[in-house]
């Protein structure tokens, strides 16, 4: 099975990537100033028993030499144990799994919006190449890409939640809680996808096989959706994969503004508290997801284009 061999090869290449990510996270956290244990007692009056502080440091292995800390972290991480939160005492793996459904829901919905809006806008723009729908959508997408997400989120809350009252302002729960944050998150990706879809489609529609198809008298809709889009889709799928990583990262901002519990807000809190086990656990986790998604994207190339499968 060439496809399996292809995937196997890609899977092996994941290992050095993950090692790199974990080392980088580890090193950066080590350089980050502030003592997480001292922070537990920041603002306390009087003299805090320094023995107890020392005890906690030892418990979390914070006094061990860095390479030793790293090795024991990686060893535990391989078994799915990402350590315990200094601040909350809970297992990091548990905290992430608890926060994950909300974040997946948000990114999933955002990706759906991004794909639907982005691809259809791009196709329409390419069909009307040079005319006003093309110009309007391309200008709109450029404008949207240029606006900071947190600002868009705040404006959306003001307009759609506070004034119009269509959606709740904050929180998580049913679909009504999801629409606003997912749209803010998704439309930004949609803008990027629309621009790429348009140029990719324009390139393809001038290819000879499209002319051939036309000459054979195949209907325009079939030419568009089957012959043109299928050939134009490879770069779009790549971008979608990359966007998923971007979306996961952006949940940090959106989750905080909309007060949605999730992996992003977990990470932000951990950074503010310098809760080292949670930060490195979450970052590593996000990296794994990112790498896996790219693996899946690579696999779909094979499905979409047999040439890539054979080349591997």
């Amino acid at each position: 099975m060439p496809l399996m061999r292809f995937l196997g090869a890609r899977l092996v290449s994941v290992i050095p990537v993950m090692l790199g990510v974990s080392m980088l996270t580890f090193g950066l956290l080590y350089l980050m100033p502030g003592d997480p244990v001292l922070l537990l007692v920041s603002g306390v009056e009087g003299d805090v028993a320094s023995e107890q502080i020392q005890q906690i440091r030892e418990e979390f292995g914070l006094d061990d030499p860095l390479p030793m800390q790293y090795v024991s972290f990686v060893g535990a991480a391989l078994t799915g144990d990402l350590g315990r939160s200094i601040h909350q005492g809970h297992e990091v793996t548990g905290l992430i799994l608890e926060a994950l459904p909300n974040t997946l829901e948000l990114t999933g919905m955002a990706l759906l919006i991004a794909a639907l809006v982005g691809i259809s806008t791009g196709v329409i723009a390419s069909l009307f190449h040079g005319r006003w729908p093309d110009r309007v959508s391309m200008f709109g997408s450029l404008l949207w890409l240029s606006m900071p997400e947190f600002w868009m989120a705040i404006v959306a809350i003001m307009v759609f939640a506070s004034w119009l009252g269509w959606f709740p302002v904050f929180g998580a729960g049913g679909i009504e809680f999801l629409i606003l944050p997912a749209t803010i998150l998704g439309l930004r990706s949609a803008a990027a996808i629309a621009r790429l879809t348009r140029s990719s489609m324009l390139e393809v529609t001038h290819a000879q096989y499209i002319m051939t198809a036309r000459a054979r008298g195949i209907g325009e809709p079939k030419i568009l959706w089957v012959h043109a889009l299928r050939n134009a889709i490879i770069p779009i799928v790549t971008l979608l994969g990359l966007q998923l990583g971007y979306l996961l990262g952006s949940t940090v901002v959106v989750e905080v503004v909309f007060s949605r519990p999730g992996v992003g807000s977990l990470l932000i809190d951990a950074v503010l508290d310098k809760d080292v086990p949670v930060i490195r656990g979450t970052v590593l986790f996000l990296a794994v997801i990112y790498v896996l998604v790219n693996l899946i994207v690579d696999a779909t190339y094979g499905l979409l284009d047999p040439r890539i499968r054979e080349a591997a």
């Binding site: 100033p33 502030g34 003592d35 997480p36 244990v37 001292l38 922070l39 537990l40 007692v41 920041s42 603002g43 306390v44 009056e45 009087g46 003299d47 805090v48 028993a49 320094s50 023995e51 107890q52 502080i53 005890q55 906690i56 601040h87 909350q88 005492g89 608890e98 909300n102 705040i154 809350i157 003001m158 939640a161 506070s162 009252g165 709740p168 302002v169 904050f170 929180g171 998580a172 729960g173 905080v256 503004v257 909309f258 007060s259 519990p261 807000s265 977990l266 932000i268 809190d269 950074v271 503010l272 508290d273 310098k274």
Partner: protein
Amino acid sequence: MRRSMKAVGIGVTLALLAGCGGTEGGGESDAERVDGGEVSIALPTTESFDMNSLDPNVGGNRIYAHTISMTMFDQLVSQEPESGEIMPWIAESWDVSDDGLEYTFQLRDDVTFWDGEPLTAEDVAFTFERVVDPQYMPESAFAAASMSAFESAEAVDDHTVVVRLEQPQAAFLANVARNFLSIVPKHYVEEVGDEGFAEEPMGSGPFTFVEWQRDGHLTVERNPDYAWGPPFTETAGSAPSVERLTFTYVPEDSTRTAALQSGQVNAIMGVPPLSQESFEGNDQFEVVEIQKNGQPGGLTFDTSSPGPAGEVEVRQAISLAIDREALNSAVYDSKHEPAYFLLEERMGDWVNEEARFPDFDPDAAAEVLDEAGWQEGPGGIRSKDGVELSLDATTSTQMQRTMTLIQSQLKDIGIELNVDVVSPAEASAVIQGEDNYDLAWGNPIGWTNGMPDLLYSLYHSRFIPPNGTSNETRTSIPEVDSLLESAVQSLDDEQRREDFDQVQSIVGDYVSYLPLLSFNANIAVASGVHGIMPERRGTYVYFHDVWVSENLQQSWPGN
């Protein structure tokens, strides 16, 4: 501000429809306490999105988590928020031995935990011993600090508990009134363990725990058996009026504001100063103003710094060169108050009126620097013996705008500030670490519940890092040390007042700390939510008296 016209309309219509003369009309019914309804409160957060524990004793110091835990627990004694007077609560009376070392508390005999088990002297002793148990460090540090003089607690009989101290502590009762020392049920904690208790607590308080969903909201419900509220509450002797309270963390200021405006919640704590106007100017909302006690926000100096910050003249010049009114209006829309005393003015008699920090006077500031030999150099920055008058100022992101304005004010008298904006974690690491710093933003501190005893932790040399964490200014003045030691142990208020007055004037002249802004902790509510009462410290809130008008109960979608 008062009440919306629409709401009056509904009230009147309903009264007419009902056709009975029970109430005298819509206008009156709003001022009368009624049962029922729900208050949904959005909380800000300074550090963490989520609270980590509901254990009031050893759960750490999440300010707003304590706001929540105060709905579920009672303390041994209470403290009247305005006067600071210590009043009964679970203890109906107490005796203090002449040497101030032994407190005998008589407990009420009608207090029960939610499961019906009586609250006894055993529970009180258990709570106190638990708080000082080193195994809970460092999360218990805040509670343990309140009990620094504690020696032992013993249940003499079911309703008598004797607490012994190692040395007299004037603020002991005020400390016992702090929410950290909420009485917890011994039988239940032992049954479910500390971790179980932190997730699903049980107390004797006015509201019972319902659920804590990790999606951020926590719900408590009225405890119908409650009849032992603090004597200064309106509902003392009866259960609360409101049916349910829901708390959610909404860290982003604009989101929290929008949540109240849209009606998703009907109360928010930590009103952003720039949104306050919009609530005050709208009769659908009311702003409950809450003043803090303790030491105001300002600049903390490392008085032991080998650089210019260690020089008292430089600190005195800075004290003259900062325009507090300008800070307040430019950054906070004048919603806070300028602070001129080491203690919040609200602390009344404990504030030394004579130890007022000077008014804004840049000319005098320049003179002080001239006399101290700091000559104006090229570029407007002063220098002495080749050393530039340039200081590093550490601040967390929250105070960045304030610090930037201070930077420009100091530039006018030839002092250069290099503002270093860091995370709150890093900021505390700088001022509590072993290394020297120059100056940093100092957050308001309210440890001893409106008692001046916090000055002891702030300015006694034994708490200089790394031995302690709380003398962030590294103030080391033998006279201050001995005054503070005498003050915190004396049981004579006159003597204490004299000692603390002197401390305020010595530390004030030395400018270890420069008070600048007295921050309020305002709460905004939908009109119709009544009875929110701040506790003595001005940080937490009593929800005992909260009630919701009928109008709001009917119009608010959450009900």
